[in-house]
Symmetry: C2
């Protein structure tokens, strides 16, 4: 039943499959959105059947003998294709190989394992019982090593898993990257701790009514450059961004009435992701390329808005009088310096997702080192709690009182998500590198002092957003900054910002 493939016919069939696949992806996304924004829990079984069925059809569209033949023919005729088509076909071929090189029965067993494993992890975390989780994590890692052999890799097997989330990134590059972070941020944090400066953050924990926080988020989003008319902003337990179309980009936040920073920063963060998706060139619409190019680049857009822009002295200076007016009572008696320092206080803590801008990357570095060790065998699963606590003490100066607040805090490993964590740190580093280069074209501080994000958004639209996935992350960085990833900008930025706040010599 597989038809003989001529390039034109193959391309036509590919385009048809792509169109249907994107339509099914749309449906899956809406099911997820629905579930996350209020759908009754009692409908979970019906929903999970629907999600499974839609994914099944989507899989069959892209993984079949005809597609294999078509992709092979098209790969032989790449030079006859347009740039967009070339990238599309190469990406799809790569994805196809990834999905088909692993024997189906083993892949299904692995899926069953991770499904079980993440349930066990939840229990283990709640009861701070690492022994419960240990055999599952051991098996997950065995599968990842076996799959690496099926898939094939160059250099380190972990390269494969990094590449799944950040194409082109390697262990060698990450080692250099984290070496610099370790050499510069760990001492910086020590100097901050030893500076003796204490920052009062009591104002952050006063009562900020949800409605007023919501109003603030809805004022902030369009200011940053998000078009509320071409999207949907709602509330959910865990904030997230979901683009179902260039003209339908959805994002959520959550409000904690006794934590002022939480919603404001998560709105800015998700806003950055959402602005990326809204500004992809419409020429890419209807193709797999109409989405952000990698986890790291996506994270750079959320981080640049959250940290480099919103948490800057310039923008907080603009925002402060507005907030004073809106939250008169809560901010009574506070001067701008107290506000700015409170918003940017550094405090080593146990939990990654609650970490401040400076310590965040150290949480990531620790996870990277552990993932690498687990994959190359230099760290045993059984030793994880001990290794975790030692690294926490060494980098952050704190030790978790139990494994629930330590090695068991994140869901990622239970789901087999290795290679994902590093992209969080890459996002911050890319953000700092971009922020350095924006200054060559735009007077960033003057814009932020006036709450005028337009020149900043436009720069990012033109340099980053419009390309969607047409450029690989490495190409994009090179194109924009004329160099590859350079952690210097990130370390410089952190040193400068926090030396000033903590008055370090």
């Amino acid at each position: 039943m597989v038809e003989n493939s001529k390039p034109n016919d193959a391309l036509k069939r590919f385009n048809e499959a792509q169109e249907k696949s994107i339509a099914l992806q749309y449906a899956s996304s809406i099911l997820f959105w629905d579930a996350s924004t209020g759908a009754p829990k009692s409908g979970a079984d019906a929903r999970s059947k629907a999600i499974g069925t839609v994914s099944g059809f989507a899989y069959q569209l892209l993984v079949n003998d005809q597609m294999k033949k078509d992709l092979d023919v098209l790969m032989e005729h790449l030079d006859e294709l347009s740039e967009t088509q070339r990238v599309l076909i190469s990406n799809t071929k790569k994805e196809f190989d990834k999905l088909t090189k692993i024997p189906m029965d083993e892949f299904q067993k692995y899926n069953a394992l991770t499904s079980k494993s993440s349930m066990v992890w939840e229990d283990a975390k709640e009861n701070s019982d690492f022994a419960l989780f240990e055999p599952y994590l051991t098996q997950v890692i065995e599968y990842l090593l076996k799959f690496a052999e099926y898939r094939g890799y160059e250099g380190h097997p972990y390269n494969l898993y990094i590449d799944d989330f950040e194409e082109g990134m390697t262990v060698d590059q990450l080692n250099v990257f984290f070496d610099e972070l370790r050499a510069r941020i760990v001492p910086l944090l020590r100097r901050i701790s030893e500076s003796g400066k204490s920052i009062d953050t009591a104002f952050l924990a006063k009562l900020y009514p949800k409605e007023k926080q919501e109003k603030l988020s809805k004022m902030l989003l369009p200011m940053l450059g998000f078009d509320l008319e071409r999207g949907w902003f709602k509330e959910s337990v865990h904030p997230f961004t979901m683009a179902v179309d260039i003209d339908d980009v959805r994002l959520t936040t959550r409000y904690h009435e006794n934590d002022f920073k939480s919603a404001l920063l998560s709105t800015a963060h998700e806003g950055g992701h959402a602005i990326y998706e809204q500004n992809i060139s419409k020429d890419l619409r209807g193709t797999f390329l109409a989405t952000g190019t990698s986890n790291g680049i996506h994270e750079s857009q959320s981080r640049i808005f959250e940290n480099n822009f919103v948490l800057s002295e310039a923008f907080l200076g603009y925002l402060f009088p507005i907030l004073k007016n809106e939250f008169e009572e809560q901010l009574d008696g506070l001067d701008f310096n107290g506000f700015y320092e409170g918003m940017n206080k550094v405090e080593p803590s146990l939990i990654r997702i609650e970490a401040d801008e400076l310590t965040y990357s150290l949480h990531i570095m620790l996870r990277y080192e552990i993932e690498l060790g687990l994959i190359d065998g230099s760290i045993k699963v059984a030793d994880l709690p001990k290794v975790w606590n030692e690294k926490m003490e060494s980098y952050l100066g704190v030790i978790p009182e139990n494994d629930g607040k330590g090695v068991l805090q994140d869901v990622h490993w239970s789901e087999g998500l290795f290679g994902y964590f590093p992209t969080y740190a890459l996002g911050s580093a890319y953000a700092a590198q971009f922020a350095h280069y924006i200054r060559k074209d735009v007077d960033v501080d003057s814009c932020l002092k006036e709450g005028n994000f337009k020149p900043l958004s436009e720069w990012l639209n033109k340099k980053v957003h419009q390309y969607g996935s047409l450029k690989k992350p490495t190409e994009l960085i090179e194109l924009i900054t004329g160099e590859c990833l350079n952690s210097k900008y990130y370390c410089d930025y952190l040193e400068e910002k926090y030396s000033k706040i903590y008055k370090l010599k």
Copy 2:
């Protein structure tokens, strides 16, 4: 590729297709819900592609050569199947024939026509320009007549289209039904108009803040028997009910701040539909039978809650003090009699969807007579505006000032929905017939006077809801009331209620 069919294999394949089909139906429903409850308009193109793609897969699941063969085999072995399976297979076979007897290319042309036709209708309505719509309606009717020949029918070709929405109902039965309505309700309305009694409804048009109306609706729904935990209640432009699962039944209402009745009654109405879907036996879950059995029976459940229960003297007597407390200012100086009469005022009007309980069926009767005439050729499309206005004058005593408020007011015909309107009137008649028989088991008035719907909901759960589509509407009426549809109960109910309100002799 079509496999030889043994009954067991055929049943297994049918069940698999059914499961996937229900999962895809779930996805389509959620896409509709999403679009109706706030999704950005700018995403409409992506959404319509997604809906089209999901429907395409759903169609292929049920309409294919294997399914044809399997259904034929199963139809030969019906006596070996369980009751549920028998009904399922017969229903699916009927649906299969309906979908396949019309040549695909003609059906596609017809779909293109109705899509265009409903857009033209929108224009025609807005500009009160029937001539614009006339050629499209003419073509729609030509198709319906041609399709009737393909599909085959007994007696009148219109029987086919009634049966699409109310299985087993025929022109002969509907003629008897509407004859009695014409004979009894038209004179009743005349006597009301001539009674000289005027009812003051000024209180209904005062300002009722949306938040307070919402609070009232959220109090009413669980009181009626709707389980808010197994569903979702939101706001939309047009109220509707949508069951995506027995445990996930969604409904909406809309709030008009200067029309107190609107949200209250639409909540009760949709609540009736929703309670039906929530109380279908879980044994039917996962089958096509886990939904209401027909349009008419579904409408009977919305009408019985809206009219026979909520608008009754007994329940409004219970509700009045609660409302007085909640809307002190708006209801100031109003006594219960004024409230009850105001809520039930009869007033012939031009627009069906704004009609009161008594005149509503006359709007339907008029549409039924016209549909019948259009199908049997006794009414020409070109004469429609004239026929419409004559009938409006004769039955309701009012004549529309233009066709936009007359013959063009409803979307149904532009979409080819013939045979749909009668089910609205059947709903009210079934409701009255059920309401008569409930009284044999339950002291309805005492319950309503205490706001205690539990015995009423339970009666309906047991007699109607649990069966889903396992029983045909005709079987259900017979089973519950021991007789077939009898319009006497409906006419008796209206005469009794309104004679009392209007003090008719």
